[in-house]
């Protein structure tokens, strides 16, 4: 049987699907509430400074990126870019890996 590296991308894709589906709508709502002044600047700052919130957001950002690029990869192939599928896969997963590294630096406070 031919070996496949698909599980390597399927695992973060699946984890990202669950995490983004559960958490993202309420987080967008909180951002919107901040936009309307319901969540004050000081509270949002304090929330985003908490280590547990940062840990959760790091996993959310990283896994959501892997989840999204996995789907975007297949959208682009389905929209007719089949000949460039190798390049598309490299660009998509490369973007998610870079995004994860940036998220690690930002979430740990090493960047910013």
């Amino acid at each position: 049987m031919a070996k496949s590296n698909e599980p390597l991308v399927w695992a973060p894709f699946f984890a990202g699907a669950g995490l983004s589906a559960l958490l993202m709508p309420v987080l967008i709502l909180i951002t919107l509430l901040a936009g309307y002044g319901v969540v004050p600047s000081k509270d949002l700052h304090g929330l985003l400074n908490h280590w547990f919130v940062r840990l959760v957001l790091f996993f959310l950002i990283s896994l959501s990126l892997f989840h999204a690029v996995h789907r975007i990869r297949y959208i682009l192939v389905d929209l007719g870019l089949k000949v460039a599928r190798g390049l598309i896969a490299a660009l998509c997963y490369g973007f998610a890996v870079i995004g994860t590294l940036v998220a690690l630096l930002v979430a740990t406070g090493l960047w910013g």
């Binding site: 699946f14 699907a17 669950g18 983004s20 589906a21 559960l22 958490l23 993202m24 709508p25 309420v26 987080l27 967008i28 709502l29 909180i30 951002t31 919107l32 509430l33 901040a34 936009g35 309307y36 002044g37 319901v38 969540v39 600047s41 509270d43 949002l44 700052h45 929330l47 985003l48 400074n49 940062r54 957001l57 959310l60 950002i61 959501s64 990126l65 989840h67 999204a68 690029v69 789907r71 975007i72 297949y74 959208i75 389905d78 929209l79 007719g80 089949k82 000949v83 995004g99 940036v102 998220a103 930002v106 979430a107 406070g109 960047w111 910013g112």
Partner: protein, 128 residues
């Protein structure tokens, strides 16, 4: 002998000819909003790292701007759609079993929605 792969030509708008395919493609396209908000979260944490005054400026100049509110509402609609379709597809993707028996798909979907509701309310209570 090495064979050449047959690449069938496919019109870009193939998914517009069928309602189910259009729905499928819209669901796939919501991924752009998921990745967009993930990047936005990253920017928000970065602004926190820059310091209290810098974050305050970001809060008033960016978070409270009209375009950001518009982007937020559009994202909420598309990411909400993304969540709903993910929960509805959960029994097909996971097909969980209880012993020898397959769990009723409606139970799996209801459990997903229930968990979503509990987590969302809990987060809102903590934040507000």
């Amino acid at each position: 002998m090495k064979t050449k792969e047959l690449v069938r030509s496919m019109p870009t708008a193939w998914w517009l000819h069928n309602r189910h395919l259009a729905k499928f493609m819209i669901r796939e396209l919501t991924s752009f909003f998921v990745s967009g908000y993930a990047i936005f979260l990253l920017v928000m944490i970065y602004q926190v790292n820059r310091g209290g005054e810098e974050f305050r400026q970001f809060y008033f100049n960016v978070l409270q701007s009209g375009w950001m509110k518009a982007y937020g509402w559009i994202s909420l609609i598309f990411v909400g759609f993304h969540s709903i379709t993910s929960f509805n597809a959960a029994p097909t993707i996971m097909a969980p079993r209880w012993g020898e028996d397959k769990i009723d798909p409606r139970v799996v979907i209801a459990a997903n929605y229930g968990l979503w509701l509990i987590i969302s309310i809990a987060i809102l209570i903590i934040v507000l």
